[in-house]
């Protein structure tokens, strides 16, 4: 499983190398009760784990691309197809989204039940970094 996940991330990275590669940090509140692993973060952002509220990035940008291809192995259209399957079966809604890294950092800093991902350059002391995706 691990090797598989790793090889997927390598593939994702190689593919990603053609675009501008931003380092992405997955962040939580300092008071967060748990530190989810990468697999659990995938579950949270795919709506399968409701223990924390994922804060998504609005639109589609390199940070979002890097986060989803690495953590969930899904690109934009696959993610769209995945959520269509849930929306139109009434089984879920994609996480709420905010525009820009700063807004995500501010939201995560203010609510211990939230988790987000941002360009690691945008991380401040107000939030805790769970892990980074190089």
């Amino acid at each position: 499983m691990k090797i598989f996940a790793r090889s997927i991330s390598i593939i994702a990275l190689t593919l990603g190398a053609f675009s501008v590669q931003a380092e992405v940090a997955v962040i939580t509140n300092h008071a967060a009760a748990a530190a989810p692993t990468q697999a659990e973060v995938a579950n949270i952002f795919l709506g399968k784990d409701k223990s924390l509220t994922g804060i998504d990035q609005e639109g589609w940008n390199p940070v979002k691309e890097h986060f989803y291809t690495t953590v969930t192995s899904k690109n934009e259209s696959q993610l769209k197809s995945y959520w269509s399957g849930l929306i139109f079966t009434g089984k879920g809604q994609p996480p709420a989204s905010l525009a820009g890294d700063a807004a995500v950092v501010a939201q995560v800093a203010s609510d211990p039940n939230t988790i987000g991902y941002v360009d690691s350059a945008a991380v401040t002391d107000a939030v805790k970094v769970l892990f980074t995706l190089p």
Binding site: G47, K50, S51, T53, S77, Q78, F88, T89, G90
Partner: protein, 371 residues
């Protein structure tokens, strides 16, 4: 693994708010659709094919094209209203259908209760049957997807889902009825009542191995064919039990994808048992997706249909995909498969003791979109 699991459980127990239902006053509108044309070649003139027999030797848009809209509204933070309307062509007439109208109650983070008109989850792709965007084909493998013709019922269900260390598990069970539904048989529409509709399914989503689904549904079938009344045979089905089982697997981890499903339909009495399956494999090349499907349908003592489908899809944008498909279908041992045989043909073949086989080339082109 165990440690992960324990953390997962602890995290889940701490959870407070049902994050994935809509909050009070919040609403969403989502839509989906398909614009597609399809053509059957290689068979005699006028022969038709398909779930509602709308594929034949002229290029027609009514088998594949449809449009849908879904509206969701948060009555409270836990109680949501969902309605879905689709517009589809049925036998040359475009009809608007209220596919869905239900209330859902998010009892806990893991348990959702629903009541109203719901989609009946008999097949692996049942609940997104009309949302072509969620599957690679333009035509879902007809060998399986022509068998249960109702798409919704009135009743209740519950869905229980929980995260586990290797992914997530969800269980769904439902019960209700579907009266006055249309059933396409022998090139005509008949009224069918599905009483005592019950079923359950379990779905296992894993991180590395795709998702596995097992589903069982049954219903008490009642159908009349009024024109057989003079023969005293109008009551074609009177509380006849029909049972449908589906086992399926879906895999999609970026470049490679696969889907397979095997089903069995058993209807008590003389109706032959139907066993069917398909295997699909595909690969993405940038914005292109190529896929190949083998499908087979066996009717007990009444022949077989096999088909090969080759498809090529192109993502125009993140929510619009252009699809092209070629499907080669053959029947053997007197099977009619999904080809449409009229009642007259059926009777004359029966009397003459002959049975023929069919074959055809089906070409489909279309656009699937969501918004």
């Amino acid at each position: 693994m165990f440690r992960l699991n324990a953390i997962g459980l602890a995290v889940a127990c701490l959870a407070a708010s049902p994050a994935f239902a809509l909050s009070q006053g919040e609403y969403r509108f989502n839509g989906f659709g398909t614009l597609g044309i399809t053509h059957l070649g290689g068979e005699e003139e006028g022969r038709s094919y398909g779930i509602h027999g709308q594929t034949n030797d002229s290029w027609r848009g009514d088998e594949l094209s449809k449009l849908g809209g879904q509206f969701q509204y948060g009555l409270s933070d836990r109680l949501n209203l969902t309605t879905q309307v689709t517009v589809k062509a049925e036998q040359d007439t475009w009809k608007a259908n209220l596919e869905w109208a239900y209330l859902s109650f998010q009892a806990t983070d893991r348990l959702t209760l629903r009541a109203g008109r719901l989609r009946i989850p008999v097949y692996m792709y049942s609940e997104t049957l009309d949302v072509g965007f969620t599957y690679p084909w333009l035509r879902l493998p007809d060998e399986i997807y022509h068998q249960v013709q109702i798409s919704n019922y009135e009743g209740v269900d519950f869905i229980y889902s929980m995260p586990v260390s290797y992914g997530s598990v969800s269980v769904q069970a439902f019960g209700g009825q579907a009266e006055d539904r249309e059933q396409f048989a022998y090139d005509q529409m008949f009224d069918m009542d599905y009483k005592k509709v019950v079923g359950a399914n379990i779905k296992l989503d894993t991180h590395g191995y795709g998702s596995f689904r097992l589903a069982y549904s049954e219903a008490s079938l009642n159908m009349t064919m009024p024109h057989l009344a003079p023969l005293g045979m109008a009551d074609v089905a009177n509380d006849v039990k029909g049972k449908f089982t589906s086992i399926g697997h879906q895999y999609d981890q970026g470049s490679w994808l696969a889907a397979s499903e095997a089903t069995r339909l058993v209807v008590e009495g003389p109706t032959p048992t139907k066993d069917a399956f398909y295997l699909m494999g595909g690969h993405r090349f940038g914005d292109f997706l190529g896929h190949v499907t083998y499908a087979q349908l066996d009717e007990e003592n009444s022949g077989r249909q096999v088909s090969w489908t080759y498809g090529l899809n192109y993502s125009l944008t993140s929510n619009v995909v252009l699809k092209g498909e070629y499907k080669r279908v053959d029947t053997s041992d007197g099977g009619q498969g999904v080809f449409v045989q009229s009642g007259g043909e059926y009777i004359s073949d029966l009397l003459a003791g002959t049975s023929r086989t069919f074959d055809g080339d089906i070409i489909s082109v279309g656009l699937d979109f969501v918004f």
